[in-house]
Symmetry: C2
Subunit: 200 residues, 2 copies
């Protein structure tokens, strides 16, 4: 089990094909959530809320809503590459051992200034990513998806979420198949970063 | 230098009082940005753009705009706790050795559906947080701020950002003073997480 930071940062890729049949110990998920709490949030408000779902019926319910949203979104599109892999995930979501729903207690105001909106999401995504990194270090694969948000009301109903709690992302969690954690290809640094002034 | 993932996740707290007088080697910042590139982004589009600013005049310019935005935002408020520490940062921003501006090439549509907005921010904040974790492992303190966005146009002008590039967050970077990386207090897990259904 690798726990070297640089290696974990470089190899926590989206894992959509999990070992569906191997259960995930709740203690592992709780350990990752405990670490996620140390992420920063605006004014340290810690408004993150996490619901970890391992109940088979609830997972099946979320999966049904997720598939509806997925079908609606990609209707009429040819799915290849990442989208094809996303379809496999959508079709198998009920088999994923644990679905973690990342939420925020409180919604952004509809007409909020850019700095408020960015701060809102910047107060939940670092915790989400900490969770995913901690999971990877424990041999658990994850991916980050927001497709389900088109069915947020139905999912809130299913899980009994308070009405002021906003869903942000869904993180399917499972053990990985051998060799899953490789370093993904990325653009060279020069294409995405510059010193002092943007070139051109 | 600690590189154990769990320890880094638990101790990467917001550092607003840096060792202002110790320069930061560009190679250290580049190493952190290289690792940040391995974070996930929607459809692997990698639309993140980072501008690392160490030029003294540009830092002074950003600091001036930042202070204006800060003063405007907190006008008439008593600043204590985190806000007082944020004011110290605002007043000292020109002395921070490196200011990293995290941007996205492309803006969210004003009337975008929640899943699109969440995916937009979820495609930059994991990279931002990876950068901050990598920095912490190298003895560099960071914090995440969005206050400057109220002066985004002036800062874009200063750094020559393309007009379709949206600024998301500013990350001041510097060496820390001894003993800076402690584990912050957080709410207990039970207060922010639940299994299967939200309690109550």
């Amino acid at each position: 089990m690798s726990t070297d930071l640089d290696e974990v940062l470089a190899t926590t890729r989206a894992i959509r094909r999990l070992d569906w049949d191997r259960p995930v110990d709740r203690a592992l998920v709780d350990a990752c959530l405990r670490l996620a709490r140390y992420a920063p949030s605006g004014m340290n408000r810690q408004r993150w809320r996490f619901v970890a779902v391992d109940d088979p019926e609830l997972r099946a319910g979320i999966a049904r809503h997720y598939r509806e949203a997925f079908t609606e979104r990609y209707a009429g599109t040819t799915l290849d590459g990442i989208a094809a892999s996303a379809r496999t995930l959508a079709e198998s979501l009920h088999r994923v051992p644990v679905l973690v729903l990342a939420c925020v207690a409180g919604r952004p105001e509809p007409s909020a200034a850019p700095e408020r909106v960015s701060s809102y999401y910047g107060s939940i995504y670092p915790a989400v990513w900490s969770f995913m990194l901690a999971a990877r270090a424990r041999g658990l694969g994850t991916t980050l998806t927001t497709v389900h948000l088109a069915r947020a009301a139905a999912i809130a109903d299913l899980l009994g979420l308070p009405c002021d709690t906003a869903q942000i992302a869904l993180i399917p969690v499972g053990h990985v198949r051998p060799g899953a954690f490789t370093t993904p290809r990325r653009l060279p640094l020069e294409a995405v970063a510059a010193w002092n002034r943007w070139p051109g």
